[in-house]
Symmetry: C2
Subunit: 316 residues, 2 copies
């Protein structure tokens, strides 16, 4: 790793990628991006990013049309594409990964690191969870609404030099970054909410949190689903605090009605991160032999809904 | 009960009601109907009913705008409205029920008889299940596509004179009618398919049987849901044959892809018989203390979906 200005390549320059790119730019890093769809606009005038932190607009050091165009491996390769089964993320980034490149995943879900760790075993692998409300509002235009905290750690555990340095950069850029030695456990903590309530909102045709929890039986169902996530986490070696379910329920009840990201993906006819968010939890449950009938039902019903959508698109 | 021409009043003259009205008319009964929405057309020219059995078109003896207009209680009052929580079916029919009127329910669901039995305890109460494919295709126009068999018996058990006579009329009119002494058990048998696959199709936005069973995990989910229905039935005193689940699955796999009635109700923005078809199964499970996590999840998710639809209609 170079000791002077750190270099960063953002792969997946949607809302999340361009926001954290801006933060790293603000911290003094040389930030390049891979952007195929927004290439022309971003090459010419960079990203426009409005934020409660101030104007975060920036021009990347380089804009690449594809990862193959990367000639000098970066110190940090930030991968922030959505996680879909039909995308081989390791092969996507491999052309830009040098021997000293630290790979930073800013992605949702459970067990999303193993394919990268297996394919690129000698690189530092930092796994990060974003707690943020940010949207792409147009070509090269991003609106950061609230939050921005990252929790990050090495996969599968620990927090090495690259991880700490990346955390320092984020803080220098103005966001809260918490380095953890147990990032897998942090992913399970986040999954307590995400795994149940993202797909349940999709089954509800984009139902918001208030509809989900206030419909008769909805809160009890949410608790049962969340408890199953906790049971799987514990059996997988990551026991969560006993109050996790209660905190997630009471926290959600206190929030204004909120339509989550998977619900928005559904309503906008985009692919869903169903496997990363819920499918991997169900598979982990099978591996550790924990029954998850509620999660299994939500998972399969959502797959049926997606299969129906595909059939309609094919004109069936 | 009169010994000459039997009199019938059909309350709920949709596709099911008018079809069986035609059958009873063909058997020689004097068939009157209550029809508010189709009053003008049906008064003038009766029902036009196409059927593989031949032309079943008929003119009712009387067409009433409401049950209150009934001056002479019929021998048989056939109730074939859909079963919704906000409709008091006993109060609906009470004005036409005389001391000797046999009440015949041709309706879907589990535990749909108790409110009628409680409100009108001294009348014979015949509970009937229709196995039929029939649709209303226009005002006073009905298309009978296939099947037509009824299974009927007295509620809660037995098969008295009125029940047998009604079965005889149906057979005389040309449909298969099986009189049972255990009609509640027959309802549970039908619920093995209906309770799981009707609402699951709704969660799948109208998914057909092929999509439901052939999506990865779909057949296993259907089996789990069906097994829960069998477990509840057994605990409620109605043990079903051990091969029930298997027969329902293999029978459905052999059928062409089929979109069930609740899926069609959903797609056509009509109310769903969710409580009669599934809600009452879940409540019976609670009463007999049988865990039904898969059914509970489908039930609550469907209620969330309906709550979301209601909120959208209110402009929320």
């Amino acid at each position: 790793m170079s000791t002077d200005q750190p270099t960063v390549l953002i792969v997946g320059s949607g809302a999340i990628g361009s926001f954290y790119g801006a933060i790293l730019h603000r911290a003094g890093a040389s930030v390049s991006v891979v952007s195929r769809s927004d290439y022309d606009v971003v090459s010419e005038r960079g990203y426009r990013i409005s934020s409660p932190l101030g104007d975060l607009s920036f021009k990347p050091a380089q804009v690449l049309r594809s990862v193959d165009e990367c000639t000098t491996p970066p110190d940090f390769l930030v991968l922030s594409v959505k996680v879909f089964d039909d995308l081989d993320r390791a092969e996507l980034i491999r052309p830009a990964v040098g021997p000293n490149t630290a790979i930073v995943l800013i992605q949702n879900g459970i067990e999303i690191e193993p394919p990268i760790a297996a394919a690129l075993p000698s690189n530092p692998l930092v796994s990060a969870l974003a707690f943020i409300a940010v949207s792409r509002v147009g070509t090269g235009d991003v609106e950061h609404k609230a939050y921005g905290r990252l929790v990050l750690g090495d996969y599968p555990s620990g927090a090495g030099e690259a991880c700490k340095r990346f955390g320092d950069l984020l803080r220098a850029g103005g966001v809260n970054a918490t380095v953890t030695e147990q990032v897998v456990r942090e992913r399970w903590l986040k999954a307590v909410w995400n795994a149940p309530l993202n797909p349940l909102a999709v089954l509800g045709n984009g139902a918001d949190t208030q509809i989900m929890l206030e419909t008769e039986g909805g809160e009890a169902l949410a608790r049962a689903l969340m408890q199953e996530v906790c049971d799987v986490a514990a059996a997988a070696g990551h026991p969560l605090p006993p109050e996790s379910v209660e905190q997630n329920i009471s926290g959600t009840l206190k929030m204004p009605a909120y339509r989550n990201s998977m619900a928005l993906d559904w309503l906008n006819d985009r692919p869903l991160e169903l496997e990363a968010i819920l499918g991997n939890v169900v598979r982990e449950a099978q591996r550790v032999n924990v029954p998850v009938p509620h999660l299994q039902t939500v998972y399969t019903a959502t797959k049926i809904l997606l299969a129906d959508r595909e059939q309609r698109k094919r004109g069936g």
